[in-house]
């Protein structure tokens, strides 16, 4: 299965290029996917995840052709 991924540029995901398609070997949750990409665990506390423009939890199971967006706000206001 394949998903499209986009993320705010201060996030670092090992082996993943921003605005790219990612091949996955089977269904997995967003949390599992991000852990495999070695996301900073501190970022997981504050990350906003949307799939196909709907906000979802980290427990959401990614489906073929999903468009995953990861948004981590930065401070200042």
């Amino acid at each position: 299965m394949k998903i499209k991924i986009e993320f705010t540029s201060h996030l670092q995901l090992i082996g993943i290029t921003n605005h790219s398609f990612v091949e996955m070997d089977g269904p997995k949750t967003i949390s599992q996917f991000l852990t495999e990409c070695k996301i900073n665990p501190e970022h997981l506390k504050y990350i906003i995840t949307t799939v196909n423009k709907s906000q979802v939890d980290l427990s959401y199971i990614l489906q073929n052709n999903d468009e995953l967006l990861l948004y981590l706000p930065v401070g200042g206001g």
Binding site: T8, I47, I48, T50, Q55, D57, P73, G75, G77
Partner: protein, 205 residues
């Protein structure tokens, strides 16, 4: 009075904006300036939430003046907005917004503006929009407005069906980046503009 105040508005805008309510969470650099711009655009009904008081170091970018130092931001902002349009109807909540109170505070608002300064507060408010009771509301948030980068790096992006984010998405506020009025105002203007576009249905979902 309103007819002259909003003489330069595009036709029909004043009537559309006058009947709707906007919530602003945080009355600092973003929130105070967004409120100012919305009132100038003819928004008449606002809900303002903040717990802080005006300090001297706020005056480099926030819509407050020397006379306001020491006052609650919500009280000072109300006074300053009334200087633009005395006919506005503003509800204020002098409190730190917790997630349990968000819906109650903004129940009647069609659009809510996230104008907080901390990552924790920003995330808390955005996460609430996952709940179905927010499905008919819009959120206009901000992220990345510090530093001295080009104003052109600031953009408005739709991250979910009913959530927009304005900013460069990258430059956080810290001791080295600082907070400069021009970039804060550009971001606030993006947010205010998005609010007006939502209220007038002048956007493509």
């Amino acid at each position: 009075m309103n007819s002259k105040l909003f003489l330069q508005n595009p036709p029909g805008l004043t009537e559309k904006l006058g009947n709707q309510k906007v919530g602003i969470a945080g009355c600092g650099g973003l929130g105070s300036n967004i409120a100012m711009m919305l009132v100038r655009a003819s928004v008449q009904n606002l809900v303002l939430v903040d717990f802080d008081t005006v300090e001297m170091n706020n005056l480099n970018r926030q819509f407050y003046f020397q006379k306001d130092i020491g006052k609650l931001k919500t009280d000072a902002l109300l006074e300053n907005l009334m200087q633009i349009n005395p006919e506005i109807c503003i509800q204020i909540h002098n409190q730190k917004l917790e997630k349990e109170q968000i819906y109650k505070c903004f129940k009647d608002c069609h659009v809510i503006v996230e104008a907080f300064d901390t990552v924790e507060a920003k995330t808390m408010l955005i996460q609430q929009f996952q709940d179905r009771q927010y499905s008919s509301k819009y959120l206009v948030a901000a992220s990345g407005l510090a530093g001295l980068k080009s104003a052109n790096s600031i953009q408005t992006k739709r991250i979910a069906n009913n959530i927009y984010v304005c900013g460069d998405f990258f430059t956080e506020s810290n001791a080295s980046s600082g907070l400069l009025s021009s970039r804060v105002m550009v971001t606030a203007a993006h947010q205010a503009n998005m609010v007006v576009r939502i209220l007038t249905e002048n956007y493509k979902p």
